[in-house]
């Protein structure tokens, strides 16, 4: 297996279709061209002697070439976050050398000349001389070869490099995408950065289904709407914060219509129910899909599909309406299990940790080996439960608040707070308490002034009293990372600092 095989199939079935389009440079590439580029750049990579192909850049046409040519050459492709500090980037590069580094002009000037680093400007990589026609080096079909290393957005300690082998990525695509299932007029707007698992997934899914990818280097809601309209975009993937901003931007310009936009998939963090409901109203003819997955599972493992979204919106039954807050059902080839803290399986409806198993699940970090158990199960460290086959997420299990021996899910309390008309955004964290071990603290963004006691009463009416926040603070906004993950640690630290 090799992801190169996916591109080879695309290039033989629809060589002249546009594969990627970069609106900033106003340049595009076809599937046939992409295959030729991957061939010649794989030669350069092999000749460089580098052990990794590192990419430090925003989305542009060199990204799919780097991904595929690395797999052709048989070395891991490692896109890293260009928003990290200089010291953080240096620390990662140290771990990745000897490396071939593709980056923009500005960063290239900074890194050129370093030992163990072959620095190439993105445009030089794109414009490299063609292949030696006598070279007939073929990519390896060994399923265990490493295709991609992604540094996970861990909030503590040294970043971990998740290992994605050829078999994980190819299995994911074969089980979730039908070959050539997109029409020639279909295109997708990719606004997640290249170092995010959804960015890798978007490239591979699009190549295998035959869609055109419109690349967005920096997300901006107005620009997203403009590009979606101008490019007749038919599908898009967004993280929750992006969707919230898109809906807000549409509120400001009532006239915006995107008749070509057939589907929006969202994932990468907890989506506030009210944002989905507003989005469903704003895009009445667009299909919505919630995709839940992790880097360690090669992207999506469960899906809440379009029909379930509309059914939930239209239903008076509160159980069906609640499904809007669900991550849906497993993809074919994926199994789920909910387990207690000792790893014992729990019956349906029980709250516990989510375990996942399937061919696409890597569950491996570089230098630490596989974290799968002897039966192939991976502990996601996400908390949740399954009800009538639907998976409900309750946040990271490390974030569970243990108050007086009782386990409380911050997500559940946040959901109730978000139902209050004054509350725009909510974060619930545990803070040290002499009486309870941990106490419930809430930080809210509100759209009008509201008394703390009213909000506490609101929670008390709907949940057990142990869940009522002991303290509530009002902030202008909550801290998120650039891909929409709520930074609970930052909130907790700030609350602790204020109480010192």
């Amino acid at each position: 297996m090799n992801i190169m095989m996916l591109l080879e199939m695309a290039a033989s079935a629809y060589p002249d279709r546009t594969a990627f389009y970069d609106p900033i440079e106003d340049e595009s590439t076809t599937y046939g061209q992409l295959l030729d580029d991957a061939r010649s750049r794989s030669q350069m990579l092999r000749e460089s002697g580098a052990s990794r192909c590192v990419l430090l850049d925003t989305s542009n046409l060199s990204i799919p070439i780097a991904l595929f040519s690395s797999s052709w050459a048989g070395i891991p492709y490692v896109p890293i976050n260009y928003r990290l500090t200089d010291d953080e980037i240096d620390a990662l590069l140290e771990r990745l050398q000897p490396a071939y580094l593709i980056t923009d002009d500005k960063l290239a000037a900074k890194y050129v000349g370093r030992r163990e680093l072959q620095v190439v400007r993105r445009n030089d990589f794109r414009a490299a001389t063609p292949v030696n026609p006598n070279d007939d080096f073929h990519w390896s079909m060994e399923p265990s070869e490493v295709s991609v290393l992604l540094f996970t957005s861990g909030t503590t300690g040294v970043p971990k490099a998740a290992v994605m082998r050829q078999r994980h990525l190819v299995s994911y695509i074969l089980s979730s995408v039908e070959f050539m299932s997109s029409g020639e007029d279909e295109s997708t707007l990719v606004s997640v950065p290249p170092y995010h698992i959804a960015g890798i997934g978007a490239i591979l899914s699009s190549v295998y289904s035959g869609r055109r990818v419109v690349q967005m280097a920096q997300f901006d809601a107005q620009e997203w709407l403009r590009l979606a309209k101008e490019q007749n975009v038919t599908t898009a993937f967004v993280v929750p914060t992006m969707l919230a901003r898109i809906v807000n931007a549409m509120d400001e310009q009532e006239s915006t219509q995107l008749p070509h936009l057939q589907s929006i998939a969202y994932g990468g963090g907890k989506m506030p129910r009210r944002v989905v409901e507003r989005a469903l109203e704003r895009f009445p003819n667009t299909e919505f899909t919630n995709a839940y997955g992790l880097t360690e599972t090669s992207s999506t493992v469960t899906v809440l599909g379009p029909r379930e979204h509309r059914a939930a919106m239209d239903s008076a039954d509160s159980d069906i309406r609640r499904r809007l807050a669900s991550a849906g059902v497993p993809l074919p080839g994926i199994e789920l299990d909910i387990r207690d803290s000792r790893g014992r399986s729990l019956p349906d409806g029980s709250h516990g940790e989510i375990y996942v198993r399937g061919d696409q699940v890597s569950g491996e970090y570089e230098g630490r080996g596989s974290l799968l158990d002897e039966n192939g199960w991976f502990c996601t460290r996400d908390a949740g439960y399954i009800e009538n086959g639907y998976l409900f997420l309750e946040g990271r299990s490390d974030d569970v608040i243990v108050r007086g021996g009782e386990n409380l899910s911050p997500g559940e309390i946040e959901d109730v707070l978000l139902e209050h008309e004054s509350v725009d955004d909510a974060a619930v964290v545990g803070v040290p308490s002499e009486e309870w071990g941990e106490a419930v603290a809430a930080v809210l963004v509100v759209n009008q002034s509201v008394a703390v006691s009213d909000l506490q009463q609101w929670v008390r009416e709907q949940m057990r009293s142990s869940r009522v926040p002991e303290s509530i603070e009002f902030w202008k906004e909550l801290p998120y990372n650039e891909t929409g993950k709520l930074l609970r640690r930052v909130i907790r630290n700030q609350l602790l600092k204020a109480s010192d």
């Binding site: 297996m1 080879e8 074969l174 589907s263 998939a265 994932g267 299909e287």
Partner: protein, 101 residues
Amino acid sequence: MAILSTGQRLKSGVCTTEIMVISAPQEELDLTCGGAPMTDNGEKQNTTVDPQFAEGTTIGKRYVNVDGKLEVLCVKPGEGSLAVNGDVLKLKDSKKLPKTD
């Protein structure tokens, strides 16, 4: 006859078909295309496509045997039909999944 392994790529000796093994049982199998054995290099054989195995293969389609233990993906189409131990492989139903990324 050979034990096939996941990820292995095989070529037809009588047409342009190429496949990749998605999953295979741990047993000796006789995988043919157009009635002739499939091999790693697709050495051309001194026969043509057997009319009994001439339905053709389609790129991107998955084919399975009766018990579903052998599954292959067509990566290059051709005129021959795939068969294992003489039984023609069936086209696997395509899935209708929402677009996720």
